[in-house]
């Protein structure tokens, strides 16, 4: 049963991954990528990595891909420019790809990864999240902290590259908008009554 599910999900994953790079429509490609993430999550469940699978769905499918779809819809990519020279480079590209695939098949197709037994299945009471939590902050504390620094750098870099205060721009300050009083914007003036000039 497990191997049947594995092959089922793997097939879906491969088909979807191929679709990502072959379909013409960018939104369809992005949606295929969602399917890729989802089936990989299913494969991770088969490997008893439930927490990671859920995280993959929540983070990648739920957040990253939605953002990605927004970007795809907002920018107007001219695919004809991107495809320029495609046929010119195709023969060389196919040659390189086929050679590499053949080499990889020869190198890895033979039972090279033998010698390591599959880990024993865990008992039903095994708690994935608790185990992860207990080693993440002990055994892996150094890599974990480093990953957090990388995220901090990403934040700084994004702000440094995009934040620009232009001198001429008009912007609203909500705090000042809320605390506005009548006297700030209405001025009552006394005007002497004037006789309406009769039309000639």
């Amino acid at each position: 049963m497990e191997s049947f599910l594995f092959y089922l999900f793997s097939t879906i994953l491969l088909v979807a991954a191929t679709a990502v790079i072959t379909v013409r429509h960018t939104v369809r490609a992005a949606l295929s990528l969602v399917l890729v993430f989802f089936t990989s999550a299913a494969l991770w469940v088969l490997l008893e990595a439930e927490f990671l699978a859920v995280t993959l769905v929540v983070v990648y499918v739920g957040a990253v891909m939605v953002l990605f779809l927004f970007v795809v819809m907002m920018i107007d990519t001219n695919t004809t420019v991107l495809r320029e020279g495609f046929t010119k480079y195709l023969p060389l590209g196919v040659l390189v790809a086929v050679t590499m695939a053949a080499e990889m098949f020869l190198a890895l197709g033979s039972p090279g990864f033998g010698g390591m037994a599959a880990p024993a299945p865990h008992p039903a009471s095994y708690n994935n999240v608790a185990e992860l939590g207990s080693i993440l902050y002990t055994q892996y504390v150094y890599p974990f902290e480093l990953a957090s620094v990388i995220l901090l750098v990403a934040i700084i870099a994004a702000i440094a590259l995009t934040f620009r205060r232009r001198p001429g721009t008009k912007y609203q300050d909500p705090a000042r908008q809320v605390s506005v009083r009548r006297a700030d914007c209405v001025r009552l003036v006394q005007m002497p009554a004037a006789r309406k000039t009769p039309a000639p």
Partner: protein, 488 residues
């Protein structure tokens, strides 16, 4: 597991730099930024001085702990040894010198912002992590932490189209290189069952896995490392990035990250994959010959000084690989000596370009050196020392670096490779000497006076004098290189 088991003392410089960089970030955020980003404004002077102090303190702490607390720490993800300490000291030095040289250039262009220094400090932290990496995991994380700020630093000048192009190229190429490296790591992990460099080495030595899978993984790792160091045929990004980046960033790129990438080369090939030395020796030999050939020959026809130095960097990487080929401690220490020498020379050469530049004028063409001998005899002499040293003319330091590498290569029986290296060095000498010719035997096109700040003038002179002094008395630096390799 207790706190003491982490052996945090071994990583005290890293902790200091991390905490310091975060503190400087906060200080910078709470200062008003408005007036600093205008052209000609004072800029983030406080951040600049704090960054220099932090680098000095980091170097001081590393120096105090030199060769102490050696061994694995932080649950085996961190390796403290004197080799790492030496490289770290030179990384601090390179970053320090970069900051001092860059200050005026950045200030004139309104780029002297806190982000420049904070990003550079985080990049330095990544280099420190990479130098001390003892697991594939920390190699990868250190590499990313080093590279991400670099991409942003290149693009920091948003009004420059060439800088954006350079940043994009570097980013895409860097991502491909990281992908290659990770793929290689995953293969080795699959074959050996461990991410720990020591355990991988042990597993490979006992060799109960299929050899071909290991070599397959090794190929991808060589490609990844060659990308980062800019060895031919993975060098395409390097000239464009060197030319397109703002000169201070090129200066930063050309020295400190190279030292860290060299450390990665040592940790991966000398450390984890030494049992496969026969395999990677051949690969590095091909890369070395191609790099020396392409780098030196193409550099001859360059008119842009930064691009020329980029091709010269490619050629120098070829020499570096030649040192690795001996696969013995002598060869590794010769390569280490070469790398340190190159970083010192590179700092001085881009320092002179920064000195010649001013607002609205980038002295990045070879012709811009014309008549420097008349305009400023002292700095022309500085540039001449650097160029002669890069060309490998005695008695400058560059000569000894080339000499050591060639000597170990011949000792290890690679006579033909050494001959090829000498031949291409002779070709390379031409374009270095052309710069000197322009400086002394051509009329100046640009007669604006050179007014370096005191700090830059003193440091640049010291940099060139160091090349001369260490060239006359190379034994001390060489002895240190041999010592840290022997202790390994």
């Amino acid at each position: 597991m207790t706190f003491a088991m982490l052996k945090l003392a071994a990583a005290s410089p890293e902790v200091l730099v991390l905490v310091g960089a975060c503190a400087i970030l906060m200080v910078d955020v709470f200062r008003t930024q408005e007036k600093n980003t205008k052209k000609g404004a004072e800029g983030a002077v406080l951040t600049y001085w704090l960054s220099l102090i932090l680098l000095f303190l980091g170097a001081f702490v590393t120096f105090l702990g030199f060769g102490k607390h050696t061994g694995l720490a932080l649950n085996g993800y961190f390796l403290k040894d004197s080799l790492g300490d030496l490289l770290k000291l030179f990384i601090y030095l390179a970053a320090f010198v970069t900051f001092v040289y860059s200050r005026d250039y950045l200030r004139e262009r309104g780029l002297l912002t806190g982000e420049f220094f904070v990003l550079a400090l985080f990049s330095v932290l990544g280099m420190l992590v990479l130098v001390s990496a003892s697991s594939f995991l920390t190699v990868f994380l250190g590499l990313e932490l080093m590279s991400l700020p670099l991409y942003a630093l290149i693009a920091l000048d948003r009004d420059s189209a060439t800088a954006s192009e350079a940043a994009m190229k570097y980013f895409v190429m860097g991502a491909i290189a990281t992908g290659m490296l990770l793929y290689g790591m995953s293969m080795l992990y699959g074959a050996t069952g461990s991410l720990d460099l020591g355990k991988v080495s042990e597993a490979v030595r006992h060799g109960d896995q299929k050899h071909i899978v290991l070599v397959f993984g090794l190929v991808f790792m060589v490609v990844g490392v060659a990308f980062k160091l800019g060895a031919v045929p993975f060098h395409m990004w390097l000239p464009d990035v060197y030319q397109g980046s703002p000169t201070p960033v090129t200066l930063f790129l050309s020295a400190a990250p190279k030292l860290a990438a060299f450390a990665m080369l040592l940790r991966l090939f000398m450390g984890a994959l030494e049992p496969l030395a026969v395999e990677w020796q051949q690969m590095l030999a091909i890369l070395a010959v191609l790099s020396m050939a392409v780098g030196n020959v193409i550099a001859v026809s360059q008119t842009n000084l930064k691009r020329m130095l980029g091709y010269s960097a490619i050629a120098h990487v070829g020499f570096l690989f030649l040192g690795m080929l001996a696969t013995n401690p002598q060869g590794y220490s010769a390569a280490l000596f070469y790398m340190i020498t190159y970083s010192l020379m590179s700092l001085a050469s881009f320092g002179v370009i920064l000195l010649l530049s001013r607002l609205g004028f980038e002295a990045d063409r070879v012709e811009d050196c014309k008549g420097l001998g008349e305009r400023s005899p002292w700095f022309a002499a500085v540039m001449a020392v650097v160029m002669l040293s890069m060309a490998g003319v005695p008695p400058f330091l560059g000569f000894w670096a080339k000499w050591e590498v060639l000597r170990t290569a011949v000792d290890a029986g690679h006579v033909s490779l050494a001959l090829v290296a000498v031949a291409f060095s002779v070709i390379g000498a031409w374009y270095y000497l052309r710069v000197i010719w322009f400086m002394y035997f051509e009329k100046a096109q640009d007669t604006a006076p050179l007014v370096p700040t005191v700090g830059m003038g003193v440091l640049l002179s010291a940099n060139a004098l160091a090349l001369l002094y260490l060239g006359l008395f190379p034994s001390s630096l060489m002895a240190v290189c041999v010592l840290v390799m022997g202790a390994h």
